[in-house]
Symmetry: C2
Subunit: 390 residues, 2 copies
């Protein structure tokens, strides 16, 4: 059964070794003045910064460096939008991972907006246009290179918001898996955990389709097997290329075309965790995953666990549904632990005494108790999940 949907992703993916050589011809379609955005300097270590600068010798390049993990509205978005306006930037070139991408999307929209940019990001007003975005991805994780969403933190407001606009799909994403060879084991594990969670957020929904179930299980299998290969051998091209491609499918909707809307509950919870404690997004998600699964397991949801147990993990389909479900929950816990993620929030700096406040924050921002959720989560449920995750 394919449920009603509307889907379109205009982004062009250019994938493979050395594809960045085509950057000048691609950027030239949009103009001559480029805002180049990047993070903490890893692109300098791997030689990508110098390579891009050499390729862009005939362009005017304005730079915005030091974009934070969990990118901040102020200073990064505010500064980037100001630079675009001051220099009449034609196109944004984002070089980095999901944080740089997300920040660049927010900049692209705010640069074309006259009012206070946070009004757009927080959803009080709607973007009517955005600067074109081209990116060179250096981290397989968020799928931001292939979707129209961004997550932006506002430290002053203790707020972390998902921002969406059809105008911020990247025009072109360059995906060269070799640029992910130097990603640390921690970031490799957390990036993959993020992508795994994106699939699970869409898998636990009703209705669902035979076709999409298979696509999602294939995505999970590829992510779970290839992250182990990449951790064992960081320059395993085959593994890095699978991770990079599969991660890019995470959030543009293609996995959930035909499925009901789940509400993305684990992301709602994690956004509060990283707004309060600035933890690594993928680690937070991995820790929450088995506890959320335990919370929502019921007669109604157990069929989803059974499908995962049999199709993904190859468990014996003759086992009883709830036994299979418990085995699935344990399997995810063990898997995340095996790739180096500590499976307790206390180990990543979260304080138990903030749980009540975070639960209220989640309800206020994301209304996870709404009837549109696959399983609505009220305050006691959120508190149970968070406490079990400590």
């Amino acid at each position: 059964m394919i449920a009603d949907f509307e889907y379109g992703t205009p982004t062009k993916l250019i994938f493979g070794k050395g594809v960045v050589a085509r950057l000048p011809e691609v950027l030239a379609q949009y103009g001559k003045t480029v805002l180049m955005t990047y993070g903490g300097g890893s692109i300098k270590k791997i030689g990508l910064y110098d390579k891009v600068k050499a390729l862009l010798k005939d362009f005017t390049v304005i730079e915005l460096a030091d974009i934070e993990p969990n990118p901040k509205y102020d200073p990064s978005v505010v500064t980037g939008a100001r630079l675009c306006k001051e220099h009449n930037v034609d196109v944004i070139l984002a070089v980095g991972g999901g944080s740089v991408l997300d920040c660049s999307k927010a900049i692209a929209a705010c640069a074309m907006y006259e009012g206070d940019g946070w009004t757009l990001i927080s959803g009080e007003d709607e973007a009517k246009s955005a600067l074109p975005i081209v990116d060179i991805l250096t981290l397989a994780a968020t799928g931001s290179e292939y979707d129209a969403g961004a997550v932006i933190s506002n430290t002053a407001l203790k707020d972390k918001r998902p921002f969406h606009s059809p105008y911020v799909y990247p025009a072109v994403s360059f995906l060269d898996p070799e640029y992910t060879y130097s990603v640390s084991p921690w970031q490799t594990a957390c990036g993959t955990a993020d992508a795994i969670n994106h699939v699970l957020e869409q898998f636990f929904a009703s209705p669902h389709s035979m076709f999409n179930d298979g696509v999602m299980i294939s995505a999970l299998r590829s992510l779970m097997e290839n992250v182990k290969l990449a951790l064992a051998k960081p320059d395993d091209y085959s593994a890095r290329s699978e991770l990079m491609y599969v991660c890019s499918w995470g959030c543009n909707g293609i996995l959930s075309n035909g499925s009901g809307y789940s509400g993305w509950p684990m992301h709602s919870i994690e956004h509060a965790l990283s707004a309060y404690f600035d933890i690594t997004h993928g680690a937070g998600l991995a820790i929450i995953t088995p506890r959320w699964m335990q919370e929502i397991l019921s007669e109604r949801t157990v069929e989803r666990f059974v499908t995962l147990g049999v199709e993904l993990f190859g468990f014996d389909k003759e086992l009883s549904p709830f036994v299979l479900a418990e085995k699935v929950i344990t399997a995810f816990y063990d898997f995340f632990l095996s790739i180096g993620i500590p499976m307790h929030l206390s180990e990543v700096g979260v304080k138990e005494d903030a749980i009540e406040e975070m639960a209220e924050h989640i309800l206020k921002l994301d209304q996870t108790d709404g009837p549109w959720m696959y399983v609505p989560l009220d305050k006691p449920a959120l508190v149970r999940i968070l406490k079990a995750s400590m």
Copy 2:
């Protein structure tokens, strides 16, 4: 392992019951003068013609009816392009299946071209633009609603050509599975056989990826299970919706991102068959499939058969690879027979004495003996496949 690729499909899919109600708002983005294209009248029988005309009461609608299966350059494309030029058409609305879609794509390109349109279709010249295309799909089969290709026959030249241009991606495809309820058992079977073949053409390639293998096997499973449900109960919404969605993935490249290029050999062979004998495309493909598989089975290719045997058909993985391969070939033969396709070319009107000439035709047009093929097919190989298919 994800091989190098470039991918982008700008088409927006609007899927579900009743979505056609949104036609006026969508068409209005492109203008007021519409060329409405359709086939032999099935859209009148199911009430879709009247519905569309009522929805378009505020538009100027020019009609091109009677588009043939295996659409012909002359008269359909020639007439359609002339109508577009005469009436300054803003947008083409294709209402029908793959033939209507394909013909409309050729019209869209030829309408913006000054020279002889066949120059574009045959690939001697390249389209530089095309009219926008919106479609309402009534047959799950070719995937033309989600790709930039068309196949056009030129009866005078005994030629059937694949035509590609990035300008002919449909802008919007309306997919309402209810419009496929009245598709006959024969067309339901042949349309699904076409889609199954699209997947197999991409599955038999090297290299290939863990992720894409799973996606393709999920597509095959959904097609093979849901066609049986749709044949048993033509108004089974769940089955018709899966068929419609999965078929749409067939040809835009998303299944083969990361895989090597196979050369699409079965389509090369079938295009000759239907150029010479005007047979139903999907039937020709179904008949060829097991014979082509038998021809290409070797130490190098057997791994592909093993994957299908174990993952799709659930055969015992302890069996020897060649035993598994033979079981897979037989399973496809039996499957196509079970959905009502006669599995011999002689039964669909093909004459054995044309085999030599068709083999030469295939080699001349598609060079199936080229080194870019997954398995090159020279004239003796083509003759063997065709003779075995009789």
